[in-house]
């Protein structure tokens, strides 16, 4: 699926390391299997050659890791960013989370990343090897032989309505830059809005009550970068999750989504990492949809230094009571 290979990226990284432009490289490290790839910092050339990977399972957004990586770095860090990562990158710069001077960005094209859950659903247990083809993957399994899967069946949910193939921040590009895409990412939100309040309540009750409060959505979110989080307060009642109803989860998810409202670039990491498969991006997208509707189109991270809608106002803003009654007309 991916058009560029790990060798191209390793060569590029090795070149920049040897010329002294950068001191370390941020990318993806191979795991035990083809699909468990983790974001990692490489400082050593042989380590880079042996363990750096790039492929269909590099869905992780690496922008947030730069905050920690650049903190004590003396030399520049090379980072490979996919188009959607560059939006988060810009948003973090807008919030002054790290120093742009310490990062050397190489933009890489992305053909959409694969979701290992979907592959496991189709290919079953015992995956030995996953190799990429032009328009899909071939999976070698222990029990079911070799299975070939089509790209559209295994794409990550968020890649299905990719918002942009354009890099909004880079020092150097590999391949050609894409364009901002037309997409129908608000369709799911609109479908929910069309339901009755009872149906919506039941839908969310069903989804959010599955939450186990692992905080993965918060930890991975490139917009959630507070060093102290309100939900880490042991007094807040987080630990004693009620068995019967899920208010704590509802509150957590409303506040989590609200805290990133206007700053969320819709990268979809929250839904990707959720071990309970809760469609968390639907909460964030609702805020984005409302912001676009009430305060004009706004894409967080499109440019550095843009003013987020919630820290801005006009004298003619919509009244909250009217905002919720809009659907009634």
């Amino acid at each position: 699926m991916q058009k560029i290979t790990r060798e191209i990226l390793i060569d590029k990284a090795a070149f920049l390391l040897s010329t002294g432009v950068v001191g370390s490289v941020f990318g993806w490290r191979a795991g035990e299997f083809d699909y468990d790839v983790t974001p990692a910092l490489f400082t050593d050339k042989t380590d880079l050659k042996n363990n750096f990977v790039f492929g269909d399972f590099c869905g992780a957004n690496v922008s947030k890791y730069l905050i920690k990586a650049t903190k004590n770095a003396e030399e520049k860090i090379l980072v490979f960013l996919k188009p959607c990562d560059t939006y988060s990158f810009n948003q973090l710069l807008t919030e002054h989370r790290f120093n742009r001077e310490k990062v050397y960005v190489v933009g890489i094209p992305c053909e959409g990343m694969a979701d290992v859950r979907k592959i496991k659903e189709k290919a079953g247990e015992g995956i030995l090897k996953i190799s990429s083809t032009e328009d899909g993957v071939i999976v070698d399994t222990l029990y079911n032989g070799t299975i070939s899967l089509k790209k559209e069946d295994i794409l990550l949910e968020r890649c299905k309505n990719c918002k942009s193939k354009k890099h909004v921040a880079y020092d150097e590009l590999i391949g050609e830059d894409g364009t901002v895409l037309e997409n129908d990412r608000f369709d799911e939100v609109a479908a929910l809005e069309a339901m009755s309040p009872e149906e919506r309540f039941n839908f969310w009750q069903n989804e959010l009550s599955r939450c186990i409060r692992c905080n993965a959505c918060r930890d991975v979110c490139p917009a959630c970068t507070c060093e102290k989080c309100v939900f880490d307060n042991p007094e807040s009642g987080v630990e004693n999750k009620a068995a019967y109803n899920s208010f704590e989860e509802k509150m957590f998810h409303i506040i989590r989504a609200f805290h990133v409202a206007g700053r969320c670039t819709d990268c979809g990491e929250c839904s990707r990492v959720c071990p309970q498969h809760i469609p968390l991006h639907l909460l964030n997208r609702k805020f984005i949809k409302d912001i676009n509707q009430f305060y004009g189109e706004y894409q967080a991270g499109e440019e550095v230094g843009s003013r987020a809608p919630l820290v801005n106002y006009t004298k003619e803003d919509i009244e909250p009571n009217d905002a919720v009654n809009k659907g009634d007309k």
Binding site: P197, N245, P309, L310, K315, P320, N321, A323, G327
Partner: protein
């Protein structure tokens, strides 16, 4: 004889500079509004964090109303404009989650509008009584 009548719990966040004084004026004018409304004074309507509202519902409030200065009249020049944006998004989100949208409200009440304060609270309380108890946002752990 004991009558089992529903007594709603209503939390009103009132801005110190306008609505709180408005409530005061309603009192000195001997206008009546339901005792179910519990006022919490805040320095500005902008002080109201969305979490306050959710916490109020969690701990058993049946309705939450936020009162602030009219747009343009904020004591801190622009606080209420931010409140307006924030609450528009929050109310819309709660509606999206299937919570009855009439349970939360934002009203602009100035210090001179004692009558408006009283009528707003009367109307809001009636609305909450007609909606009944808050079941969707309550937390059973907070029930006695």
């Amino acid at each position: 004889m004991q009558v089992n009548e529903f007594k709603p719990k209503i939390v009103a966040f009132c801005c110190n500079w306008c609505s709180y004084a408005g409530a005061d004026l309603a009192g000195s004018n001997r206008l009546s509004y339901p005792a179910d409304v519990k006022i919490i004074r805040v320095p500005c309507s902008c002080r109201v964090n969305p979490m306050f509202i959710l916490r109020a519902f969690q701990r058993g409030a049946d309705g939450v109303i936020i009162c602030g200065c009219h747009p343009g009249d904020c004591h801190y020049t622009s606080g209420n404009y931010y409140t307006r944006r924030r609450m528009a998004l929050l109310f819309s989100m709660l509606d999206y989650l299937g919570i009855e949208k009439d349970r939360m409200r934002l009203e602009w009440v100035s210090a001179a509008e004692g009558a408006k304060f009283a009528t707003t609270m009367n109307e809001f309380t009636e609305k909450i009584i007609s909606l009944g108890e808050n079941k969707r946002l309550e937390d059973l752990r907070c029930k006695k």
